[in-house]
Amino acid sequence: MTVLPIWKQALVLLALSAGVSPSAVAAPADGSVKRFVAEDATPGGGKPDAACLVLAVAMAFDADHVYVVDAEDCAVKVFAKNGTFVRAIGRKGRGPGEFSFPSGVSVFGGRLTVADKLNHRLQVLDAAGRHVRSFALPFAPDRVLVLAADRRLVTRNASGRNGPEKMLYLFGGGGELLREELTARSTGDPVVDAFRNMFIVIPGAGGDFFVVWKSQDRSILHYGRDGALVERIPVDGRYAFRPFSLAVRGTRKALEAFCWECAADRGRFYLLPPEDTDDGDLGPGHELFVLDGAGRLEARIELPCRVVRLAVDGDRIYAVDRDSELRIFRIRR
């Protein structure tokens, strides 16, 4: 008897699933905040097959390029800042410069560091995509942020099987472990815990970084470059939780969804709250909330479409929409 791999079974059942309707209530109270609109600046026209994104899971940018990790295509797709495709780096495999479900990317000093999830390693590549070195890891990395030449922050998803687990790991320049932080929340239900333990890391200035939980906590955690928690920034009350009732094995579990995706730029945070989908589920939103460094709500930016990933650079927003297309928006202030 042929047995499909577990992930294929999951996808088959997922495809068979019809819309379940959890209750999602919304509505941050508005108050007097500025409202902006972001207009689409994505270049039109055809593009080569290699430019197509199958499952865009992470993005980063530097002065000239935007880097998008395509986990299914096992590659990092490089685009110019105007959206023009430049090249794809990597292919599926276990050798140098090859990836197995890459899940994170960071750019520092002209080099790319890629979280090569299922190969349990980080790979450092030069600007042309040539392999420079690899760091083996004792776990499957999720995201990576290079904070300084001698500081790499790596996140992992909690397995839910090994008791209290850490989810942030700080490594030194030689790959030595310097610090572990952020203990996974545990209720004993692996599905609920998976949601409670979803978080986003975003780079800050001077090697600092921020952590934003996707649910259950309405604050932004500020960590220093040494991996120690500096402060907990409370988020403005006008940016509200979205209560969500999750159906898990016949019972309903209450979750408070907070943030789908976020970015930081020039001392401001850009939080994307989840929104109801057409079939009553909870999906990515299409409005960005701009917070100042103290967590106060400054503005709201309406995007032309729902997005799942984003990065902000001045008045430009680089995003991946729900069809895994790279989109470029210009903020009209």
Binding site: A10, L14, L55, V191, M198, L282, P284
Partner: protein
Amino acid sequence: MKKTLPLALAGLVLLSAALYFPTAVSAHDVNECYRDHQVCRERALNMDAPWTKVALALTVCDVALGKCILAVKV
């Protein structure tokens, strides 16, 4: 006749179970079950789907893990 029917039903159940679960010889070892489970969870968590669908995918991963371990131990 009264005894035949339960016996036939029991046989049917055993046959179904034997067909449903892969045999111990062809099954992976438990470590492979956990490796597959990890891949399954990571894909579910990275698929950016609405939450109910992700929850469903995670549940399927857990069910498949149980099935895989059971198959190894049968």
